[in-house]
Symmetry: C2
Subunit: 443 residues, 2 copies
């Protein structure tokens, strides 16, 4: 049943039918539906949900709906929802709430939980700690497979995952990993110590979440254990949360490639001044860089005045240099981000880039010389063809090398944005073009 029909049932106050149809949907879709409602209807619909799915639906709601609801429901209802939430979802929720809501919730939490929440809220935004959850299954290695399976039966409803279980010693140091698959296959009377995998891949709470994503991608993990500085197991991160990290990371690189700062909210919710702050800084930096292009032009004023027709080809030539450079930069940034290419591969890739850009330059010079001939005769054709081949080579080499240089300087290669490469290529392009013209025309 589609949204319009659900809304109609709601307006008709046909609640039994509405509820029946609503519950045929996935929890994610129920949350999406509730997100479109006003405050009053949100509360009404939420109260219609059966207890066993209410918390799950709540965890998928937008921060706005969550905030609305947490103010609208009574104390008891709010505690009920919060108790049912997985710890990572609870932290996500608290991070988005205004201070007064957080205070109210913390006041009503038992002290141990309050301390834990406070500790989690303190993990830096980009750290593994900030996205981990504490609902993991841990066992001692003396336990028998049979006993472990029994415990999983008890734990399953309240743990985020039961598919990967962790074996710890008495001080909670991680000793091994047992998947539910291993447990199901193993003979029931074996000890966990005999079947656990001791080749452990784990991360620290302070590790960058991008690093966590890289490990989970590489080793195809469903969950990864997180340890504190004393190597004690404190949480796990599951693959569904890592998929979100991967998308965030890609968004950041994508925006950076176009000189936009980090935006981690929906574009529809972003205010104009917020967007201004994310966009203006680089635009101003680039203006500053473009002054050099202007200075280049001023330097060749004499040449330009003599053959004013040369200006006709200026956008074409400097853009070509910038475009070829942007292509090369984008290829390198992405390959570095994926780990396909390492800093040490620069020289090998440079050699290839030179071959490619010479070929590109020849093809583009041929195209542009034709236009040059039609527009300004043989001299202009020769000048623009030579200039095109040269600027494409130089632009590509700059664009290709800049991400490696940034990487070497421990900066983000994605800072080598298209506009930055274009600006640098412009300066080089202007100097090359007018130098060739000045020399060829004997000015």
């Amino acid at each position: 049943m589609n949204t319009e029909m659900l809304l109609k049932l709601l307006q008709e106050k046909n609640y039994p039918r509405f509820k029946e149809e609503l519950l045929k949907k996935q929890n994610v879709d129920i949350a999406e539906f509730i997100d479109t409602l006003d405050a009053k209807a949100t509360l009404l619909v939420f109260r219609l949900l059966p207890k066993e799915i209410a918390a799950d639906v709540f965890s998928y709601l937008s921060p706005e709906s969550q905030s609305q609801l947490s103010v609208a429901v009574n104390e008891e209802e709010l505690q009920e929802i919060l108790n049912e939430l997985f710890f990572d979802d609870k932290i996500d929720f608290l991070e988005e709430m205004p201070a007064n809501v957080v205070k109210r919730i913390l006041r009503n939490s038992p002290e141990t939980e309050r301390n834990l929440i406070n500790q989690f809220l303190k993990y830096p935004d980009d750290s593994a700690g900030s996205i981990m959850t504490i609902e993991f299954v841990d066992f001692k290695k003396e336990l028998l497979v049979r006993q472990a399976l029994e415990r999983i039966r008890e734990y399953a409803p309240v743990k985020e995952t039961v598919y990967t279980c962790y074996v710890t010693d008495s001080s909670r140091h991680l000793e091994g990993i047992v998947s539910l698959r291993d447990l199901v296959i193993a003979s029931p009377e074996k000890k966990l110590a005999e079947i656990m995998n001791t080749k452990i891949i784990s991360v620290k709470t302070t590790d960058d979440k991008e690093y966590v994503a890289d490990l989970m991608k590489k080793y195809d993990l469903l969950a990864i254990p997180v340890t504190d500085n004393e190597n004690r197991l404190v949480g796990i991160i599951t693959v569904d949360d890592i998929v979100d990290v991967i998308e965030e990371e890609n968004t950041e690189d994508f925006h950076k490639m176009a000189t936009v700062g980090k935006i981690d909210i929906n574009l529809l919710d972003a205010g104009p001044f917020f967007l201004l702050r994310k966009r203006l800084p680089w635009l101003l930096v680039l203006i500053f860089m473009n002054i050099f292009s202007g200075a280049g032009i001023a330097y060749f004023e004499n040449t330009i005045q003599t053959v004013i027709g040369l200006v006709f080809f200026l956008p074409l030539l400097i853009n070509s240099a910038g475009n070829a450079g942007s292509q090369a930069a984008a290829l390198m940034i992405r390959a570095l981000a994926l780990g396909d290419v390492k800093t040490g591969d620069w020289f090998r890739l440079l050699q290839k880039e030179i071959i490619v850009s010479v070929l590109l330059g020849i093809a583009m010079a041929a195209a542009v010389s034709l236009i040059g001939f039609v527009q300004g005769g043989l001299n202009v054709a020769v000048i623009v063809a030579l200039a095109m081949a040269a600027v494409v080579l130089v632009g590509s080499t700059i664009g290709m090398s800049l991400p490696f240089l940034l990487d070497k300087l421990k900066l983000d290669p994605a800072t080598a944005s298209g506009p930055l490469v274009t600006s640098i290529a412009d300066i080089a392009g202007i100097i090359i073009y007018f130098s060739i013209a000045t020399w060829y025309l004997g000015l």
Copy 2:
């Protein structure tokens, strides 16, 4: 132990020690190590691997190493590896192999498998069918939980995942889904029909794999069932393969943003002519577009000749228009790709873009008027400030709207690349700048 020490042990022919150290590594890392070896050493090391991990390591090898090995090993060894591979890994492998290797393998496969392989090799590159696997667990709904668990115990070693099981009727139509977690919690004497989830999310073999990725992200799935045109269950796709699809998709958009065609191989392995083919087409299109910029300049030759100093500001102004436009385009492309924004949101976002770009324009006009004043006096300062505010507004509006236009035309919004937006903004920028100058100077 690091790679250098492993290589040393190998050179010293200290095989027992070498093997011991090698096997402490994860299978992925063993494959990575083998990938660095020459053909002879590859075969040697591969033969040292215990049978139970050989196939898994093989599935992680680069296509080059896989190819080398499949030629070097004898018939029997090859069959052994292939029998142990999951079906999706086998297909991936066969897709990369030269025709003669594929033929040899098919010749030695039983007929049913040969038919299945041929069918899989025919699925289009971007389809769900091309990445699914056939090693899923399916049950009939009359089965008891206890019986299902017993079967899982048997199946687990040969199935890609046992965490999501599928309930089908006698003609293999999908009726429900049961997770291993549900099975473990449920009372052993219940029928699957009583505990299965009938709110099924599934895809067709012909669905685009990006669509599959979107569903798995949205619903946090570990696996998704794939059905054929008659709605029969034919395969599943697991989350680890979807993570790869997400990254591929991001790479494609990232490259497209810089006018580079689809590159699905490691950059280090890409030949110069392959790269040329991926880069040249758009560069030539952009040259063609830049002719219009040149024509704009030619049209205003008179104005330029009168105040040649105006050319000084040309790169600065047109680049600013292009940069602001690229920012706006990148924001929209990414938001559309993530589904944060829909085609229908265009007008709402346009209004916001106008506010943001007016603010950007004012700030940038202020910066550039200062340079204008120093460089060319009050007149130039006024002209470049006015022009800057105007070109940033126009560039941003174009950059912001183009992805929506492409989306509306059922084209990929990511085609609104930085260079394309820059080229369009250039033309607009040149006309605006010199029109303002001509008007202001009364030429």
